[in-house]
């Protein structure tokens, strides 16, 4: 059963009239993880933001976005806002820049949770503490009193994941959550994403250009290029028998790096299943 249905989504630049995504359609099945793969500039991030209707003002969109049977593309802005965070939660690319640099982390967490649930301070601290511990963040109270620049990108990604655990959204949209991380943090963050799925059974859209990461987490894959979907299918099938030339190229170059990595390291790469 699909939880999110996108059909004929068209995205263009309102000031120049340039079409960035002509028309794409895909669906996200309830409880599954859909990966959107493609090189930078293929329109992956724009698509994610379009689902939340959070693209920059000059970027326009049309087409149907049906979430749990409801046309959210037609909702009034404040109705849409009510669904953001609580039902549709997005984790942006760079954790270091996702938090207000002039406030401590706790301010954002409190603002969000007070806004959606109206909890008091101690309830919020209690819930965030449990969630942060579950993503292996030590000293949760200390973290809430830290400024973003005092933490690492990987820690901030895990803070965002822990907020997802508390918010319990229906869909998590992760826009290249690991691209700004070093290998070790990347591994930790991906592990937390996998555990998040196991624990909450939520649906997920996972954008990445890192096929190693995608292979580990995705059930289905959509391959995008220049604003078009060139191939889609189940992850295992797509990796085994890529149909489109571009996908073959992606998989082959990934396998190439993989092989090279194995040869250099002399063992299985960290991402292989």
């Amino acid at each position: 059963m699909s939880i999110l249905l996108i059909s004929k989504l068209r995205i263009w630049d309102g000031s120049t009239g340039k079409v960035i995504i002509p028309a794409i359609s895909f669906e996200l099945n309830s409880g599954s993880c859909l990966a959107i793969v493609g090189e930078s500039g293929s329109g992956k991030s724009l698509t994610c933001r379009a689902i939340l209707r959070l693209n920059q003002r000059n970027i326009r969109q049309s087409g149907e976005i049906v979430f749990q049977g409801e046309r959210i593309d037609r909702l009034a802005e404040n109705e849409m806002r009510r669904r953001r965070g609580k039902q549709l939660y997005m984790i942006p690319q760079n954790g270091m820049r996702a938090f207000d640099p002039t406030s401590v982390i706790g301010v954002h967490l409190r603002d969000t949770l007070v806004h959606h649930f109206g909890w008091n301070r101690s309830e919020i601290v209690e819930k965030m503490k449990l969630a942060m511990q579950s993503v292996r963040l030590k000293d949760p109270v200390g973290i809430m009193n830290k400024y973003p620049h005092q933490m690492s990108g990987g820690m901030l990604q895990r803070v965002m994941i822990s907020l997802a655990i508390v918010l319990e959204p229906d869909i998590i949209i992760a826009d290249e959550p690991t691209s700004a991380l070093d290998t070790v943090s990347k591994y930790e963050v991906i592990e937390q994403f996998c555990r998040l799925r196991e624990k909450m059974g939520c649906s997920m859209i996972f954008v990445s250009h890192d096929l190693g990461v995608v292979r580990k987490i995705a059930d289905e894959i959509v391959v995008m290029r220049d604003g078009n979907i060139v191939e889609r299918g189940e992850a295992s099938v797509l990796f085994a028998k890529p149909q489109h030339e571009y996908t073959r190229h992606l998989v082959a170059s990934h396998a190439g790096i993989h092989e090279h990595f194995n040869r250099v390291i002399g063992g299985p790469a960290y991402v292989s299943r």
Partner: protein, 313 residues
């Protein structure tokens, strides 16, 4: 907070060598000027025949026969007690002329600075939030038109309309609160028209930051997002705003002369024309000190606003 007070103390101490350098330059520039102060004094006293003996006598009276460094030291020490010597022209103590004028200019400057800042932030926010729509476009258009007009023309137009035609406001002097309206308006229009663009562009830059996107993606109300935006984007504007205060203070010359405002601008022009160096010297020193004080203050405010800077301090 302890760390903060240490920072403030250190920042204030740093201002001292700067003030020393500036005061020395001011002093030396005066010495280098082609006019002999003794001659100016004697001219002002209306002495019909200026002889060499008379000049030498006056120089001794002014303490100008002493070595340069001693003179500078004496001047500096008395400056610290607000004793800037006597005017070469009127013979009155410089501070008795400069003090009230400074106060008048300061009143005009502070009131104008407040209106400039309030208007710039207000317009900046409105324009940033309505970017590209007609509100933004018309505000920018009007501001462009008004700021491109020289302030004396603007002042003349306002005086003609509000004072002469409608007879609502006085044309000159400081007699009442109404006297402030026209000069403050002219200053505000010419500065706010520039500064609101800085607020606007700074906010627009921050609008594309990830923290705005993530805040919205978490469903936060737009007012919360705007507050965050404002706090972040004002950091750039704060230093510019604070620097505007001494700039306005130094550039009130035109406005003060137009509105016959008995302030620093009027006094400095008068002193320059009559070669009254002791006043010019004090004027430059006071302005420089104001610049340094305000700059120090803006650094402290910025540090308070920015946690990253706070740590580095």
């Amino acid at each position: 907070m302890n760390k903060m007070s240490r920072y403030i103390l250190r920042r204030s101490l740093l201002a001292i060598p700067l003030l020393l350098v500036i005061s020395f330059i001011t002093f030396v520039l005066n010495i280098l000027s082609p006019m002999d102060p003794a001659e100016v004094v004697l001219h002002a006293q209306g002495v019909p025949q200026i002889t060499e003996d008379l000049l030498a006598e006056t120089r001794t009276a002014l303490g100008m026969d002493q070595p340069l460094f001693i003179r500078y030291l004496n001047w500096m020490l008395s400056c610290l007690q607000l004793d800037f010597g006597n005017s070469y022209v009127t013979g009155k103590p410089v501070w008795s002329m400069l003090g009230p004028a400074f106060l008048n200019s300061l009143k005009l400057t502070v009131i104008s600075a407040v209106t400039v800042i309030v208007l710039s932030i207000g317009l900046g926010i409105i324009c940033a939030l309505t970017e590209g729509r007609w509100v933004d476009k018309s505000i920018r258009g009007i501001a462009f038109f008004l700021t491109s007009m020289p302030s004396y023309l603007l002042a003349a137009l306002l005086v003609w309309y509000f004072s002469v035609k409608l007879d609502w406001l006085p044309t000159n002097g400081i007699d009442s609160v109404q006297s402030y309206i026209l000069p403050v308006s002219v200053i505000t229009i010419s500065y706010a028209g520039i500064y609101f663009r800085i607020v606007r562009s700074s906010m627009l830059n921050h609008l594309n930051e990830d923290y705005v996107l993530y805040g919205r993606a978490c469903g936060l109300p737009e007012i919360r997002i705007t507050m965050r935006l404002l706090r972040n984007s004002l950091q750039v504007a704060v230093s510019i705003f604070f620097m505007a205060i001494p700039i306005i203070l130094g550039s009130t010359v035109v406005i003060e002369n137009l509105f016959a405002w008995p302030g620093l601008g009027m006094l400095s022009v008068k002193s320059i024309l009559s070669r009254d160096f002791s006043i010019i010297q004090a004027y430059v020193l006071v302005l420089a000190a104001a610049f340094i004080a305000v700059n120090t203050f803006s650094d402290v405010i910025n540090t308070l606003l920015n946690p990253k800077l706070r740590e580095d301090s």
